[in-house]
């Protein structure tokens, strides 16, 4: 049985549209305009125990909403989810003792106290046996290299050190499922790398199930074999990282190295010219055109070397996000936002 089972999960919520100007604001007291945001639209997902899955998607795609649903912070509009057999939004203590949510932009440690005090609090809240607490605390702070900082007030730690402490706090109770929302946001390259290393080691070692959202493709490439792309509240892709290119990239990058003395002109007839730096040139060529284009190039010019590559993953994904977003803005596409006009503002309050 999958440790996370999601069926038809949907979350709509209504956002009050604050009008501009004083008069409009006054009118807004009586006539309120709401826009219904369909943050998550019918997601199906199965995650097996021990998987490390990345959620990718543009801002506002529904990644964080999905994590909030799975951690029980919000109720769905419809659909079902089970994590370790529990319905998250019932918030059983037994469930809450077995998972953790870490949000890169929120902190839960006590600001003015050393991290160890927050950890002791977690020990109590999660009823961690003293022996286990000591072992986990030692192991985690050792792996993350923050052991010497345990007794320093959290406010004096750097952002990276603080994030490591947050991770330690979240893992003290040995959760079986971990949700990570942008854990490396705003961190420098070294700290990012450290956290990646740590997550990989910890996940391989403990076989816990992790769902991660991140904007850093490096996090994803380093950690997750399985990638789920969410855009406009729906799953657009679920598979391996490499598979994304096969599925979504319509182009290849062709790099040509011309022979000495070859005059290179009118390259644009073969594809989009990315770069010309005699005697080298890079072209973007539609995938199905590659064999024909190469044949004509080789027939036209004296070429010393040819390389045909996939475009960088980041580019493919950026393109995919862009395409999904521009679909959304097209007037004829199925609307994600539905306007609701209400007369009685008072009644809307419950």
């Amino acid at each position: 049985m999958a440790i996370i089972e999601v069926r038809g999960l949907t979350k709509h919520y209504r956002v009050y549209q604050k009008p501009e100007g004083l008069w409009a604001a006054l009118r807004g007291l009586f006539h309120r305009r709401y826009v219904e945001v369909q943050a998550v639209r019918g997601i199906d997902l199965d995650v097996e125990e021990g998987e490390f899955v990345a959620f990718l998607g543009p801002n506002g795609a529904g990644k964080t909403t999905t994590l909030k649903l799975l951690s029980g912070v919000i109720y769905p509009t419809s659909g079902s989810a089970r994590v370790m057999g529990y319905v998250p939004w019932k918030r059983d203590n037994a469930y809450r003792r077995q998972f953790a949510l870490v949000m890169g932009q929120k902190n839960q440690l006590w600001w003015d106290l050393p991290a160890i005090e927050s950890f002791r609090l977690h020990q109590q809240i999660y009823a961690i046996a003293p022996e286990e607490f000591r072992r986990n605390c030692d192991e985690l702070t050792e792996l993350l290299g923050v052991r010497d900082l345990l007794y320093q007030p959290v406010r004096e730690l750097s952002l990276g050190e603080r994030m490591k402490m947050e991770l330690t706090a979240a893992l003290l109770h040995s959760p079986r499922v971990l949700f990570l929302d942008e854990p490396t946001i705003g961190l420098d390259v070294v700290a990012q790398h450290n956290i990646q290393q740590f997550l990989r080691h910890y996940q391989e070692h403990r076989r816990i199930t992790i769902l991660l959202t991140s904007h850093y493709m490096k996090d994803v490439a380093a950690l997750c074999r399985r990638v789920v792309i969410i855009a406009r509240g729906q799953i657009q892709y679920d598979g391996s990282l490499a598979g994304i290119i096969d599925r979504f990239s319509k182009h290849k990058i062709v790099t040509l190295q011309f022979c000495e003395g070859q005059v290179v002109d009118r390259l644009e007839r073969f594809g989009q010219v990315l770069q010309v730096q005699q005697p080298k040139a890079r072209l973007r060529v539609a995938r199905q055109e590659v064999p024909r284009t190469l044949a004509s190039i080789l027939a036209t010019y004296a070429v010393q070397d040819v390389a045909v590559e996939d475009p960088p993953l980041e580019e493919v994904i950026a393109e995919l996000f862009h395409r999904v977003n521009s679909d959304q803005q097209a007037p004829d596409s199925a609307g994600q936002k539905v306007e609701v006009e209400t007369v009685e503002a008072g009644r809307r309050r419950d």
Binding site: Y13, G72, V73, Y75, N93, L101, K106, S118, Q123, Y126
Partner: protein
Amino acid sequence: MESAISACHRSSSFRQRLATWWVILRVALEERLVYRGDFALGTLMRFLPIITQIFLWRAVFDAVQTSGRADVAGYRFEDVVAYYLLTMVARAFSSMPGLASGIAASIRNGEVKKFIIQPVDMLGFLLLSRIAHKLAYYSVAVGPFALVFFLCRGFFLDGWPSWPVLAVFCASLVLGFFLGYFIEACIGLIGFWFLEVSSLLFVYMLLNFFLSGHMFPLDMLPGAARQWVDWLPFKYLAYFPAAVFLNKLAFPQMLRGLAIEVAWLVAFVLLSRLAWNRGLRRYSAFGG
């Protein structure tokens, strides 16, 4: 056998709970002590208004005495100053600086999620933090308080009250703390419905200032108003403990007062629970 096991289990889970409370209390206490220098000074500053109060009431009583009376609603000049000092003690228990606005802010900025995700109850957690906050405060404030009361000992014309009265006084202080906590918690939880509670809080502070007896002894209110105010919860936040200490109430009246206070406390505990449950449901439905 089975019941023995379950009793044993219950007691161990109770012990576990006690341990949790103790750690929350200790950690919160440590956190507050980080700022001890700040509130040592703050406490002394809080007594400054007493000087203006003394001058103000001196002038009032001078005017009253020219008309041939020695007291106002049973209060001599010294009693009023003693009353004022005692309300400061009462308010050191019942006032909850930053509680309601803090709860509302945590709802607004999403920190409240922490209490949804972790197996810990927010109202209980904040109550323990607040107890720690108060303990830390008293440990420092006891000095300035003792000093001011010593300097002002001349205003306490009747000296110390009897032991039973003192006991009721202490009980009213402790109950005042809990009542103050749950009233403000309820106001803070309104943040689930209205993101900003500061104007509501302002109205509450204003009502509190007049109706708790913080501004003048409630005995000075005209008859009809007095009767209304007697049934409201506000007077327990300042007037009641001071009136008890000054022997303004007969023993049955004191006990009746305590009973009404307990009833209000129970009402606000239930109301805060209800507001938390309802608010959470709303929060969960509307985004979070």
